[in-house]
């Protein structure tokens, strides 16, 4: 008989967690951590406590008093607000006693005293925490018989958000969000006592890029979003969880539709990514999918106009062109707007046909060598240490990444060092913020890192470099040079690449990266020289997006045959010989990859418009017609092939459909080509260095075709320092001539102290005169003259 020794070895016993406490909720023992709030511990234990103001992603304020619970104290049980009371070891909490029930009923009666109870005509009805909890925790009857409070309603507090003050229960969620999370405290409690109300400053709207989140977190129907007002009832909505592909942050969303029409996106809390937040552009550009202007059938150029045709005809035309093309004369641009499956199938088709000219970026991104550095994630960047920003204004380009960094800096977890040519949305949060004229960033970085305080900060913890094209009129090599300058001082630093388009990292990773250094600019140059017989635009619009407008124009004109696969007849698609309608976001299943390399799923919620189909299907059809067997006829086939062929994909990524947070794929690192040391030419003192940077709202197709967002682009202008404005001799708002030896355009001028002298900031792709006429690919920086007219 053997005795099994069950006594664990002393070494294996983990030391007791000094932060662990044990509390009792309704008689059950619950493990909690010091500092945790009772309501959070109760949530984990599935003991629901009613609440309105408490939100796990914001600080607690104890505003609504709905979450009262009973806690055993030295003088017997007492009522405490569970969203403001931290747990303590041995604490005894009760949430279901008659006293607690009475308190909950009393608070609800108070909150409802002035509430209009107009649920039948309220958009929130059916998904309203106030309605739901009035039923589950309320008394059912009110003793209030007097006249209720009346306000003018609803009032538009911004172009997107409407406020009904009669429904408001003053929980402070929207105002807290605007202040704490978004950093745009443009709404505030005003007046006092019975007249307390949420309001903006007179004539200053709640124009925050994040305003839609306040609608989502409003626990009553006080805030409604203009695009969804009176569109549907919650019980008529069907929803599927997906990923937003508006930018490369990849926020988790639910896509909601009714009667086969997209009606709303809501943020979903993905802990490593978006924490439930969305930017307004991502939240409201679903309207674009429903646009009247969508392409519905294949189009073939006949003379100067397009004629609708069948898929069979259109595909045969394209396949014939591909068959007859001289080897090495076909090029593919784009793929970053689709799914990984789309990009993979096109890459497979390109491999089968020997197409080497391909690029998922449009001369506006970073070389793929950016993936060869140690890669950071959003969480690793926000966890601690130093974050060095060598990037465009993240508030404009990757708004939810901006929120995550802002939060980490506000909570003093990280220190931000920013090197930029003008102030950004994170300048106020930055520990050090240095102005460096475009073209001089690398030397400014080197000078900054020589500072002993900065060096001490870098060596005190992990360093993350957030690198991207801050200025589209500046060569990408200069961005890489700045990254190298940081790595010279902090060799263990990791890099988070700022890539704009939704699935650009995915497209580059699954096979649409440039080969032999032949990138979009080189491809367009080749096309301009007549060396491209067939140019395939995969959701790409070079004429709108390539910084060198002249190059894009010449490239499209020079290509002998242009195929555009797109959802809209874009500027470039209008020059195509064949246009194939593509299924849009929400119309196809698949996976996408965000800037971290995180693979998550995107889902089909509605039927594709007209006869449009997913990009991968078009590639599969073309392969078939051209006699190449790729071996994939269903999405499952494509995913299986992708798992086999793309390093890093595989079992982990095929399971993402069921994982909210997705999987970060570690890719084989691409070889890094040694960087030729580039330095920008000095600027003449009478000229301005051009800084071409993106704004959240521009002439992007999905923004333009979303009625709620179309009017929000600020318009083209040139912005300079007030003293420079004086030197130019122009008044604010007057028009000035901006010129260099390539071209000359006329723009309204504005002054801002956030821009250093000698720099001229022009937003990219805005309605109005196009600054891209002054830009030529290959010039590392662009200098311009500004003259008053």
């Amino acid at each position: 008989m053997t005795t099994i020794d069950n006594t664990p070895e002393i070494d294996n016993v983990p030391p007791p967690d000094p932060n662990a406490v044990s509390i009792t909720i309704n008689g059950r023992t619950v493990a909690a951590r010091k500092g945790e709030l009772i309501i959070a511990a109760a949530d984990r234990a599935n003991e629901y406590i009613p609440r309105f103001c408490y939100h796990p992603r914001m600080s607690s304020v104890g505003m609504c008093r709905q979450c009262l619970v009973e806690v055993e104290g030295p003088r017997g049980p007492m009522m405490v607000v569970s969203c403001m009371t931290p747990v303590a070891d041995g604490q005894i909490v009760r949430t279901n006693t008659p006293q607690v029930k009475r308190a909950h009923e009393g608070i609800l009666e108070l909150l409802l005293a002035n509430h209009p109870l107009d649920c039948p005509v309220c958009d929130k009805g059916g998904e309203c925490p106030l309605q739901d909890q009035a039923f589950s925790h309320g008394a059912g009857e009110s003793r209030f018989v007097e006249e209720k409070r009346h306000y003018e309603k609803p009032i538009a507090i911004s172009d997107l958000v409407y406020l009904d003050r009669e429904r408001c229960i003053l929980c402070d969620r929207c105002t807290r969000f605007a202040d704490e999370v978004a950093g745009d405290p443009l709404i505030s409690f005003t007046q006092r006592g019975n007249n307390t109300q949420v309001m903006t400053f007179p004539d200053e709207p709640f124009a925050s890029y994040f305003s839609g989140n306040t609608v989502q977190i409003c626990p009553v129907g006080a805030l409604t979003a203009q695009p969804y007002r009176f569109k549907a009832r919650p019980w008529d909505l069907e929803q599927r969880e997906s990923t937003c592909t508006t930018c490369s942050v990849g926020c988790r969303t639910v896509v909601q539709s009714s009667r086969d029409e997209l009606l709303r996106y809501q943020g979903v809390d993905s802990d490593p990514v978006n924490w439930g937040w969305l930017c307004d552009r991502g939240r409201f550009n679903f309207q674009s999918v429903n646009s009247e202007d969508r392409l519905e059938s294949p189009q073939v150029k006949s003379g100067d106009s397009f004629v609708s045709t069948s898929w069979a005809d259109a595909l045969e035309t394209v396949a014939r062109t591909l068959r007859l093309a001289t080897p090495g004369s076909v090029a593919i641009l784009g793929g970053a707007r689709g799914t990984n499956e789309d990009a993979f199938m096109w890459a497979s088709l390109a491999d089968a046909m020997g197409i080497t000219m391909r690029d998922a970026q449009l001369d506006d991104g970073l070389p793929t060598s950016i993936f060869s550095y140690s890669q950071a994630t959003i969480d690793s960047a926000c966890a601690g240490g130093t974050v060095i920003l060598l990037a465009p204004d993240l508030k404009e380009e990757l708004p939810v990444l901006h929120l995550r960094l802002r939060d980490a800096a506000d909570k003093k977890r990280i220190r931000i060092i920013e090197v930029s040519s003008h102030e950004s949305g994170l300048t106020k949060q930055a520990w050090r913020s240095v102005r460096a004229e475009s073209g001089t960033t690398a030397s400014a970085v080197a000078a900054l890192l020589a500072d002993s305080a900065v060096a001490a900060q870098l060596s005190s913890g992990p360093v993350t470099i957030i690198a991207g094209r801050a200025n589209l009129a500046e060569s990408a090599d200069l961005t890489i040079a700045s990254v190298e300058a940081v790595l010279a001082a902090a060799p263990t630093a990791s890099v988070l690449p700022v890539l704009r388009r939704g699935n650009v990292r995915g497209a580059l990773s699954v096979g649409l990266a440039p080969q032999n250094g032949k990138d979009a600019a080189a491809i367009l140059e080749a096309a301009a020289n007549g060396q491209v017989e067939c140019l395939i635009l995969l959701g790409a619009d070079p004429m709108a997006d390539v910084a060198d407008a002249d190059l894009a124009r010449r490239g499209i004109a020079g290509a002998k045959f242009v195929v555009a696969i797109d959802t809209f007849l874009t500027q470039s698609a209008a020059h195509a010989d064949v246009v194939l309608p593509a299924a849009a976001y929400g119309e196809k299943d698949g996976t996408t990859m965000n800037l971290e390399g995180r693979v998550t799923n995107v889902v089909q919620k509605i039927t594709p418009r007209g006869t449009s189909r997913a990009d991968w299907m078009i590639a599969a059809e073309l392969a078939d017609l051209s006699g190449h067997d790729i071996g994939a006829t269903t999405l499952a086939d494509v995913q299986k092939l992708m798992a086999q062929r793309v390093p890093g994909f595989g079992a982990t990524t095929t399971s993402v459909a069921i994982k909210r947070d997705g999987v970060v794929v570690s890719m084989a690192s691409p070889t890094r080509t040694p960087l030729a040391v580039t330095s920008a030419p000095p600027r003449n003192s009478y000229e301005f260095r051009l800084d071409l940077s993106r704004k959240l709202y521009d002439r992007a197709v999905a923004t333009l075709t979303s009625p709620a967002l179309a009017g929000l682009a600020q318009g083209a202008s040139v912005c300079i320092h007030p003293l420079d404005l004086e030197r130019v001799g122009a008044a604010e708002g007057a028009t000035v001539r901006v010129s260099n030896n390539h071209s000359s355009i006329v723009l309204p001028v504005r002054a801002s102290e956030s821009i250093p002298r000698g720099t001229a900031v022009v937003p990219f792709n805005q309605p109005g005169a196009d600054i891209r006429e002054l830009i030529r690919h290959g010039e590392s920086v662009v200098d311009v003259r500004i003259e008053s007219m």
Partner: protein, 204 residues
């Protein structure tokens, strides 16, 4: 009727420097703005926001909490008649009726010449002297209809010019703390010692 004047900007900077955090100066600056224009203008609130690093909405949220900040023009003299218990028992209701007919305006209104605004106020903590009123927050006790008429006559003739400054003026003598007499703007998180009166004992 606008942003703060050059002189008031200088004063505003001095006031801001007294506090560890600029936005702590919001309310003193609102008084300054009200003194300048007689009421708080939207332009002044925007300007104050710029000076203290807050949005206009935050300044407005703070300002609108307080009854004594006015956002519409008021008369040179603001007469607050108390309507709370003691004064009500001692005839403030009749006094208000008298005031309305004497000035030809309703409570809350301003005379056509812009001289006097009439308001009903909550308890002014002078219950033993009921009914009472305030003229630009200067007390008048045990006010009768005759007293009130005399007061209005004096205000109209300018006899009280020296005693009662125009609405918005907080004090006839402006507070000025010389730089060397101030305690300085020490941020709360940098304070390591307790106040002198605690005498080294721990608080609470």
């Amino acid at each position: 009727m606008a942003r703060l004047t050059e002189e008031n900007i200088r004063l505003a900077r001095e006031i801001i420097s007294r506090y560890p955090k600029p936005r702590s100066a919001t309310i003193p600056l609102l008084h300054l703005a009200q003194e300048q224009d007689g009421f708080v203008t939207n332009e002044a609130m925007e300007h104050i926001g710029q000076l203290v690093g807050a949005t206009s909405a935050e300044v407005y949220g703070t300002a609108s909490f307080y009854e004594m900040f006015k956002f519409e023009p008021v008369g040179k003299y603001l007469i607050n008649i108390c309507g709370t218990m003691s004064c009500a028992l001692m005839g403030s209701e009749e006094l208000m009726h008298h005031a309305e007919s004497r000035l030809g305006i309703h409570m809350g209104g301003t005379t056509a010449d812009g001289l006097i605004t009439l308001e009903r106020a909550e308890c002014q903590a002078a219950c033993t002297e009921a009914p009472c009123l305030q003229v630009n927050y200067r007390y008048r006790f045990r006010v009768t209809a005759e007293n009130f008429d005399t007061l209005v006559d004096q205000l109209q003739s300018g006899a009280l010019e020296g005693e009662i400054p125009a609405h918005g003026t907080v004090a006839a003598v402006r507070q000025h703390i010389p730089a060397d007499k101030g305690v300085g703007a020490v941020a709360p998180e940098d304070v390591t010692e307790g106040p002198a009166w605690l005498d080294g004992k721990a608080a609470l």
